[in-house]
């Protein structure tokens, strides 16, 4: 069976990200999953094997770490030329998409982004226009280069013992034009990453101020979820931009989305409409968020949410 390259997303803190395991699961339907790791592969190999990575290509060295994206695309392009894979899967994150874009140009090859499913023949499903439409697409030139949206498929283990292969990294000077001079980690605590979380609790303008976001955070922590914010809340300075859900922020698709004090403008719906279950608390009975909520409470979130958190504690 032909190899399917899965470009691994991992972080020093969290290890292999969930979306990588989901991609390995998807890759099994297309061929033999082989992971491509940038950086230290030793710490990640066991986990990748647990989800079916038969091979791990390890590309390490300063050249891939110190420059923005371009060297990584060169490494993946080299692998595509040497192993002739059936497809390349990358995460539909900023970096995943950027590598995919460069790869597509290098290989003069089609690419499909924000994919939520791939069939055995490479036909991909994409959710478009703020979750209001679904398209099926395929690459018609070259192999499928596909970026996969986190939380699109459940990750299923299929344990194997991966063969680790070191990849010699030789990148061109043209790949070293954008140098990363500093990486600043901002504490997120123990909360899961927004796009990968099974549960997301978001606050909007109705939260009122930055301090009040503690109410949102408390519920998120009790549910083991991530915290999100609407654009209105971010613009008002209640919560940092990296947690913004919506058109100019993150797209999330969790099992449960809790919207607190969020009216549900189309801008916001664009980022959360495909969540499995949606719950909303808003004092305005006419708020559009109720049109998509499976369960809605019309009321003061500062009364409803503390009562809910007390109730959850009691049940634990």
């Amino acid at each position: 069976m032909a190899e399917v390259l899965v470009v691994v997303e991992a972080s020093p803190a969290a290890g292999v990200k969930k979306v990588t395991l989901e991609m390995l699961t998807l890759a099994r339907g297309l061929g033999s999953p082989c992971a491509v790791v940038f950086g230290d592969a030793a710490a990640l190999t066991d986990r990748l094997g647990e989800y079916g990575a038969e091979k791990v290509y390890a590309a390490s060295g300063e050249d891939v770490q110190d420059y923005l994206v371009a060297p990584k695309a060169t490494v993946v392009a080299g692998l595509v030329r040497s192993v002739r894979p059936a497809a390349v899967l990358l995460a539909s994150t900023q970096e995943g998409k950027e590598i995919a874009g460069r790869l597509a140009v290098k290989l003069d090859n089609g690419l499909l982004t924000d994919v939520v499913g791939v069939e055995a023949d490479g036909t991909a499903t994409q959710v478009i226009f703020a979750g209001s439409g679904v398209v099926k697409s395929r690459v018609t030139r070259g192999l499928p280069i596909v970026t996969v949206r986190p939380n699109s498929v459940p990750a299923q283990p299929a344990p194997v013992t991966p063969v680790v292969e070191q990849v010699t990294v030789s990148v061109a000077e043209a790949d070293k034009l954008a140098r990363v001079v500093e990486r600043v980690a901002e504490a997120r605590g123990a909360r899961p990453e927004l796009t990968e979380a099974s549960i997301v609790v978001s606050g909007g303008r109705g939260v009122g101020n930055a301090d009040n976001f503690a109410v949102v955070e408390e519920l998120a922590d009790l549910l083991g979820g991530a915290v999100g914010a609407s654009r209105a809340a971010v613009d008002a300075g209640f919560y940092p931009h990296q947690f913004q859900v919506g058109q100019t922020g993150k797209t999330v698709s969790p099992q449960l989305y809790v919207a607190l004090g969020i009216s549900g403008a189309i801008q916001h719906r664009a980022g959360m409409q495909t969540s499995k279950t949606i719950v909303a608390v808003n004092k305005d009975a006419e708020a559009p968020i109720f049109e998509l909520a499976d369960f809605g409470v019309v009321g003061d979130l500062f009364k409803v949410v503390p009562q809910a958190t007390d109730e959850i504690r009691k049940r634990k």
Binding site: R102, V105, N109, T113, A178, V281, Q307, R315
Partner: protein, 259 residues
């Protein structure tokens, strides 16, 4: 400094959007067409760089004749001139072909700095800056929330899931921006009047030396085979809090096995 801003006309994301039933391209007739929101931030940043360091700002748009309206709107914010790349053969172009055309158009302008929005509200593909950099052999600094220009050196801060990165390069370079970078100005009346007289140069495929079979549907590297509207979500239970709203909410979450 020779600054280019890439501006894309997109269907208004606040309106209902669809793909054309015939060829699955973005339906431009139904919804109102506007400047892609993040491109307005790129225009603003270009104007700020010009104000601080001098030079000229050129808007570059690839799109059908109707995109001229967005070009005038962009010019009314303050850029000096525009280039409109338009050709019947471009209809149906994929991202790979689009980057080829835009790279060729940029090649005629020799910019020091190319600014664009990080993504468009219609495709949300988020790859153009890197595709162009790959083709032009220049640096790409993407997703900027802050841009500093020091002589020929550019430094950007970009948000990541873990925090942020500081990335630096020497011009020429392509920089894509998020909407956190600035607050775009509104066109003034004077700006709107002045925009009517600003030069807009038309470029067709032949001017760029690109054969028609490398773009559009014929030259596309991917195709849409099916489009369907997703059924709208239906509203579920809505209750009014009468002192037990929190408890009833948890009862729902428990029934759904979230607690």
């Amino acid at each position: 400094m020779n600054i280019v801003v890439l501006v894309k006309q997109v269907p208004d994301s606040g309106a209902e959007r669809a793909l054309s039933p015939g060829d699955f391209t973005v339906e431009r007739a139904a919804a109102g067409n506007v400047i892609n929101e993040m491109d307005e931030y790129a225009i603003e940043e270009a104007l700020r760089v010009r104000e601080a360091h001098g030079g000229e700002v050129t808007v570059v748009t690839m799109g059908p004749a109707a995109a001229a309206e967005s070009i005038r709107k962009a010019l009314s914010m303050g850029p000096d001139q525009a280039v409109h790349v338009s050709d019947e053969a471009l209809h149906g172009s994929c991202a790979v072909a689009t980057s080829k055309v835009l790279a060729a158009a940029l090649g005629t302008l020799n910019p020091d700095l190319v600014l664009c929005g990080a993504e468009s509200t219609d495709g949300r593909v988020q790859v153009m800056a890197h595709m162009l950099a790959e083709r032009l052999g220049v640096a790409a600094l993407t997703g900027a929330r802050k841009l500093t220009v020091d002589g020929s050196r550019l430094t950007v801060e970009r948000q990541t899931d873990e925090g942020y990165e500081v990335v630096t390069a020497v011009m020429p370079a392509v920089v894509s921006v998020w909407d956190t970078i600035n607050e775009p100005r509104y066109p003034s009346f004077k700006g709107i009047m002045a925009a009517k007289k600003k030069p807009v140069r038309a470029l067709a495929l032949a001017d760029l030396g690109i054969p028609a079979d490398q773009v559009g549907f014929v030259g596309a590297s991917s195709e849409v085979v099916e489009f369907a509207k997703r059924p709208p979500r239906s509203a579920g239970t809505k209750i009014v809090d009468e002192g037990d709203g929190g408890a009833r909410l948890v009862a729902f979450l428990a029934a759904e096995k979230f607690v």
